[in-house]
C-alpha cells in the first residue's frame, strides 16, 4: 500500500524561541496520518476553533514546516523538495479556502483566476485550448460557463464564487484537494451544492480530498474517514461511520451530542451546561481534555494517553480503553 501524502509524528510549535521557553503554543501535537494512493478517499479533519486543524492543513500544503516529524508526498519530504518537485507538488495538491470573497481581486474579472492558473502551469498550448479547459472545469462543478465568464466577483453569489474556486483547483488536474472550511461562509442551501461538487471530483475523477471542518454533519455526509482534533492532538480517528455513530472518546461524544439535530421530537437536555463550561486551564502533561472530561480519572492528569485500537477501523486516545491493544499505526487510509 503506497501512501500519497503522509504525516509522521508531526508537531508544530509556534512562539517560544531560545530565550522564551514559556510562551509557546503547540498547535499540532504528534499527529500521524496518511492518504493512500490506492483508492481515492475523502478524509475529514474535524475540530473546534483552536484545535489545530488549519495548522494541520497548512503543514499538508507545505506552507509551513513541521517543528518535529515529517510530511511526505509521494515518498519525498515536502520541506526538502527541489524547485521542480515543489512545482509539481503545488499542482498536484490544490487548496480551496474558506472565504470565497477574499481570494478574488475585485478589479479583475472572476475568471482571471482561472486564466492565471492555466498560464502559470502551462496547461494549454493555445487560446482555444485554454478556453476549452476553463469551460470544461466550470461545467464539472455545475456552473454554466456563459453565465460565469466575463463577470466580476461582485456579480457572483458566494456559492458561485466558491464553486469557481473548486473549478480552479480542478483545472490543474490535482491528485489531492485540500479544502479548508469550504462551506462555512455560504448559506446552508448552497452548502449542499458545493459539497456535492467536491464529492463529484472524488467519485468521478478519482481525486482524494482532505476536508477540514468544524461541522460534523457535513463531514459525516461526504467523508469516508475522520480525524477528530482537540487542542492539537488527534483524540479519535477512523471510519466516519464508526466515529460519528458510536463515538468512543468523551470529547467526540460531547461534540456529536452538541450538534443541533433537525428533529421536532428531541430537545437538548437541561442541566449539562455547567459541565460544559469549565474554565480552560493552561499547560498539562496529561490528557488535554481532562479538565472538561466527565469521566476523568487520576492518571489522565499525569500522562497523555496513547492511541488504543478500538476496532479494525478506529483508534481513540483515552485511558477508558487501556485494556485494548495500542495502535501502532493510524488506521486512516485503508
Amino acid at each position: 500500500m503506497a501512501n500519497l501524502l503522509e504525516l509522521e509524528n508531526v508537531t508544530k510549535i509556534f512562539g517560544g524561541g531560545f530565550f522564551n521557553r514559556s510562551n509557546v503554543t503547540v498547535a499540532v501535537d504528534d499527529v500521524t496520518f496518511s492518504i493512500s494512493s490506492d483508492r481515492p478517499s475523502i478524509t475529514a479533519v474535524a475540530g473546534e476553533s483552536g484545535s489545530g486543524k488549519t495548522t494541520l492543513a497548512r503543514l499538508l500544503l507545505g506552507v509551513i514546516k513541521p517543528t518535529f516529524g515529517s510530511v511526505t508526498y509521494d515518498g519525498q519530504d515536502v520541506s526538502k523538495m527541489s524547485g521542480n518537485e515543489r512545482r509539481n507538488f503545488r499542482r498536484e495538491v490544490q487548496p480551496i479556502f474558506q472565504d470565497p470573497f477574499e481570494v478574488y481581486n475585485p478589479f479583475y474579472k472572476a475568471d482571471h483566476l482561472l486564466h492565471v492558473a492555466v498560464e502559470k502551469f502551462g496547461l494549454a498550448g493555445s487560446r482555444d485550448e485554454r478556453e476549452h479547459l476553463i469551460r470544461e472545469a466550470l461545467e464539472t462543478v455545475g456552473l454554466r460557463p456563459d453565465e460565469m465568464l466575463g463577470r466580476y466577483p461582485h456579480q457572483l453569489s458566494g456559492g458561485q464564487r466558491q464553486r469557481m474556486m473548486v473549478a480552479r483547483a480542478l483545472l490543474l488536474k490535482p491528485r489531492i484537494i485540500l479544502a479548508d472550511e469550504p462551506v462555512s461562509m455560504v448559506d446552508a442551501s448552497l452548502r449542499a451544492t458545493i459539497l456535492e461538487s467536491i464529492r463529484t471530483l472524488n467519485r468521478d475523477l478519482g481525486i482524494s480530498v482532505v476536508y477540514v471542518t468544524h461541522d460534523l454533519t457535513t463531514a459525516y455526509q461526504i467523508c469516508d474517514d475522520i480525524l477528530v482534533m482537540y487542542k492539537g492532538s488527534v483524540v479519535e480517528q477512523g471510519s466516519v461511520e464508526r466515529v460519528i455513530r458510536e463515538p468512543k472518546h468523551p470529547y467526540t461524544r460531547l461534540l456529536v451530542e452538541s450538534i443541533p439535530q433537525m428533529r421536532a421530537d428531541s430537545g437538548w437536555e437541561e442541566g449539562v451546561e455547567e459541565v460544559l463550561s469549565i474554565d480552560e486551564s493552561g499547560e498539562t502533561t496529561g490528557c488535554k481534555f481532562a479538565d472538561r472530561c466527565p469521566q476523568v480519572m487520576d492518571r489522565c492528569h499525569a500522562e497523555h494517553p496513547t492511541a488504543y485500537q478500538i476496532d479494525a477501523d478506529r483508534v481513540a486516545s483515552c485511558y477508558l480503553y487501556d485494556e485494548l491493544p495500542t495502535a501502532n499505526r493510524a488506521p486512516v487510509a485503508r
Binding site: 446552508a188 448552497l190 449542499a192 451544492t193 454533519t217 461526504i222 452538541s258 443541533p260 421536532a264 428531541s266
Partner: protein, 366 residues
C-alpha cells in the same frame, strides 16, 4: 420636552394606561409581566423599504405574525431574505435609507411604529431587548461588565443604591451561568461564549416582554453554541419573555423554538409549529430548505441544494416571488401573488397550492 407632546393620539392613549416605568430594582422585579390576555407582540402588515437608485428595495414586505407571551419563534431563511431587517424593524433600529413604510408592531397592545425617538428609547431594553450576533462588538472594551449593565438600567430611570444595582447584576450573571467576579472584568478577559452570555444578561436586565436574538451563536463553536442556547432557553423560562430567534441553522432552530417562520425575499412564506414545519413542510421553499440540511440520520447518496439564487429585491418577479425557483410552479404563480392562507391549526402558508385561487380551480389543497 415640549416636542414629545406631538405624539399621535393613539400613543397618548396607550401611554396613559401603561404602568409607570420602574425606578428601583425592587420595582423591576414585578416589571415586565404584561397583560396575559394580549399577545406579546403582534405584527401586522409590516413593510420595511429602502430607497435606492435602482428603485425601492422591499426588504420586508407585508409581514404579519403573532407571538404569544413566553413563546419562542424562530425566523429562518437564506441570507438576504430580510430576517435581520425584520428584527431590526421590531426594535425600530432601521437605519436610513431604510424606513418603515407601513404596518403595526403591537407590543403588549401598544403600537411601536408611531412612537418618537425618546419613547422608543425607553421601550428598548425595558420592553423589547436585542441580543446581537456579535456580542464582542456590542461591549465597550474599556468598561467593566457590571458598569455596562448599570448604564442601561440608569439610562432607563432606575435610581437605586449602588449595592442594590450590583446585587441585581450578580443575579443576572448567575442566571446566565457566570460567576459574580465576571462583573468586575473587562470584555477582553472573557471568551466568546462568556461575552454572548453577558449579552443575554444585559438584554434581560429589565425583564423585557420580548427578546430579539439575532444569530446569537453564529460565531461560536458547537459545544459553546449549545451552552449559549441552553442559557438563553433557561433565561427565557425564568423571565417568561417571548423570544424571536433569527437564524439560518434549521437544526439549532428546531432545538430551541416553539414555532418557525420561513422568510423568502422579504415575505413570510410559511409559519407553523416546529413539528408542522419539519415533519410536514407545506411551502415548496420550506421543503427544499429542509431537504438541503444534512443530518446524522442517514448518509445520503446525493446532497441537494436549492437551485438558483434569491431574486434581487429591487426587481421582484410579478406573481409569487419564489416562482422562478419553484419545482411545483404553475402558470398562475407567475402572474398572481399568493395570499397568506390559514391552512388550519394556526398555520399560515403563502402559496397557490394552498390558497383560495387553486381551491376554486379544484386542484389539490393541503
Amino acid at each position: 420636552m415640549a416636542v414629545d407632546t406631538r405624539a399621535t393620539g393613539s400613543t397618548v392613549n396607550g401611554q396613559s394606561q401603561r404602568p409607570a416605568m420602574p425606578s428601583t430594582v425592587e420595582e423591576l422585579r414585578s416589571w415586565g409581566k404584561g397583560d396575559s390576555s394580549l399577545p406579546a407582540i403582534d405584527v401586522k402588515n409590516l413593510k420595511v423599504y429602502y430607497d435606492s437608485e435602482a428603485g425601492t428595495v422591499k426588504a420586508v414586505d407585508d409581514v404579519s405574525f403573532t407571538l404569544q407571551q413566553g413563546e419562542r419563534l424562530a425566523l429562518v431563511g437564506e441570507s438576504g431574505c430580510g430576517k435581520t431587517t425584520l428584527g431590526m424593524a421590531l426594535m425600530k433600529l432601521t437605519k436610513p435609507p431604510g424606513y418603515i413604510d407601513g404596518g403595526e408592531i403591537l407590543l403588549d397592545g401598544r403600537d411601536l411604529v408611531p412612537l418618537n425617538d425618546e419613547e422608543m428609547r425607553l421601550a428598548r431594553l425595558a420592553e423589547i431587548a436585542l441580543v446581537t450576533q456579535s456580542a464582542m462588538n456590542a461591549l465597550n472594551p474599556v468598561m467593566r461588565i457590571e458598569d455596562q449593565i448599570f448604564d442601561g438600567l440608569i439610562d432607563h430611570g432606575i435610581k437605586d443604591s449602588k449595592g442594590n444595582l450590583r446585587n441585581h447584576v450578580y443575579d443576572l450573571l448567575q442566571r446566565v451561568g457566570l460567576r459574580e467576579s465576571v462583573g468586575r472584568m473587562y470584555p477582553h478577559e472573557l471568551s466568546g461564549g462568556m461575552k454572548q452570555r453577558v449579552a443575554i444578561a444585559t438584554g434581560t436586565s429589565m425583564n423585557p416582554k420580548v427578546i430579539v436574538a439575532d444569530e446569537p451563536t453564529s460565531a461560536l463553536d458547537v459545544v459553546v453554541q449549545r451552552q449559549v442556547m441552553m442559557t438563553l432557553s433557561r433565561v427565557q423560562r425564568d423571565t417568561g419573555a417571548a423570544v424571536i430567534l433569527i437564524g439560518h441553522d434549521m437544526g439549532l432552530v428546531a432545538q430551541f423554538a416553539d414555532r418557525i417562520g420561513v422568510m423568502y425575499a422579504g415575505k413570510l412564506v410559511d409559519i407553523g409549529t416546529v413539528e408542522q414545519i419539519i415533519e410536514d413542510p407545506k411551502h415548496p421553499y420550506t421543503k427544499l430548505l429542509i431537504n438541503s440540511v444534512p443530518d446524522l440520520e442517514e448518509k445520503r447518496e446525493r446532497l441537494t441544494g436549492i437551485p438558483g439564487i434569491p431574486p434581487p429585491l429591487v426587481d421582484l418577479p410579478s406573481g409569487c416571488v419564489f416562482a422562478p425557483r419553484c419545482p411545483s410552479v404553475e402558470d398562475p404563480c407567475r402572474v398572481l401573488a399568493p395570499a397568506n392562507t390559514d391552512v388550519g391549526d394556526n398555520r399560515h402558508v403563502m402559496c397557490h397550492l394552498f390558497d383560495l385561487y387553486v381551491t376554486m380551480a379544484g386542484s389539490e389543497v393541503g
